[in-house]
Symmetry: C2
């Protein structure tokens, strides 16, 4: 079903990112900021995954970006058939970008291909440097690592280089962007990467 | 198997807490601080759960507290049979306290009774106020909620009362302690609660 999704996306030239992280790392805030800053240049649509609530979809809807919320109930991750059902309703336009925000969980979503082009793992610096070693599957299966909440760096005992070296141990190909969704710091480089990706798709 | 664990613990008067949270909420730091401050009064043993690494067990071992690390590999939570195997090796002494640190995951561990007396959910204030609504099962199934990293409150746009009101919506019986494992603030009330619990077990 993930392969089928991938074919569907390819046919319509829809570029797809799957955003994964622990709960509270800032997936929705990064998504909001990205949509705000790029939605005049790029057509976006969004699939939101959560166990419960419409809160994230409401935040995206407030930006006038098409969005569908999937509530997984007891489920701990999105699966490709859920994404398939969602895109049949959402009908993302040709030559657009689909952002999928997965359920906040650093374990289970790593095992489920949704048909995305790239997987983006977000980690906030309040979570500690050791997470890539303790939850290696997620960092191993991701292409991009957004290190979020860097505005809090002066208030924490946190070593950015240590985090990166641990992450590179489990995935030497991981590409990092250091960002703050709150202040906007570092977001430009992430946007540049995304625009280049879309252009080369 | 959880019931069997519960019988085993009861027979030896072992009081058991199951610590659950997102990755990076500070479970291990709270555990370290608690052991440091109470280990002269209470006999502790610890079961550590992680996908990979011995890092948490090494941190506990450094405090001279008996500990066993369970690596779940692809697994996203501890199960009662893993705890059973661990206690046969760990052999916690009579009249002691067993602290089980679950895999960092705010979803899956909520569905697995380990035979514990009480479940303690930890949330750090960097994770946002909305987590109890988005991940209701974990807050519904817990008895105690430790709100961690309150030392960062001046640097965040975070509303403690809103977090509590959301958590009480999914579990009106939840009891809160506001703590900082880093500065030690608020830990005394958590210790008082624990000592009273053990006395009344």
């Amino acid at each position: 079903m993930a392969a089928r999704n991938r074919g569907y996306f390819e046919a319509k030239n829809i570029y797809v990112l799957n955003l994964v992280s622990s709960p509270g790392s800032g997936k929705t805030s990064i998504l909001e900021k990205t949509l705000q800053d790029l939605k005049d240049k790029i057509h976006f649509s969004v699939i939101e995954g959560d166990q419960q609530t419409m809160q994230d979809a409401n935040r995206i809807d407030a930006l006038n970006v098409p969005v569908i919320q999937i509530n997984t109930g007891k489920g701990c991750h999105l699966e490709s058939d859920m994404v398939y059902s969602a895109i049949k309703k959402l009908e993302p336009s040709e030559n657009s970008v689909l952002m999928i925000e997965n359920v906040g969980n650093l374990v289970c979503p790593s095992m489920f291909d949704l048909g995305e082009n790239k997987r983006v793992v977000i980690i906030s610096i309040t979570e500690g440097e050791d997470k890539p070693l303790k939850y290696p599957d997620m960092f191993h299966s991701s292409d991009i690592c957004l290190i979020n909440k860097i505005d809090l760096l002066p208030h924490l005992d946190f070593d950015l280089e240590k985090l990166k070296s641990y992450a590179l141990k489990v995935n030497p190909n991981l590409v990092f962007f250091e960002v703050s969704a709150t202040t906007g710091k570092g977001m430009e480089l992430w946007y540049d990467w995304m625009e280049k990706e879309i252009k080369n798709y």
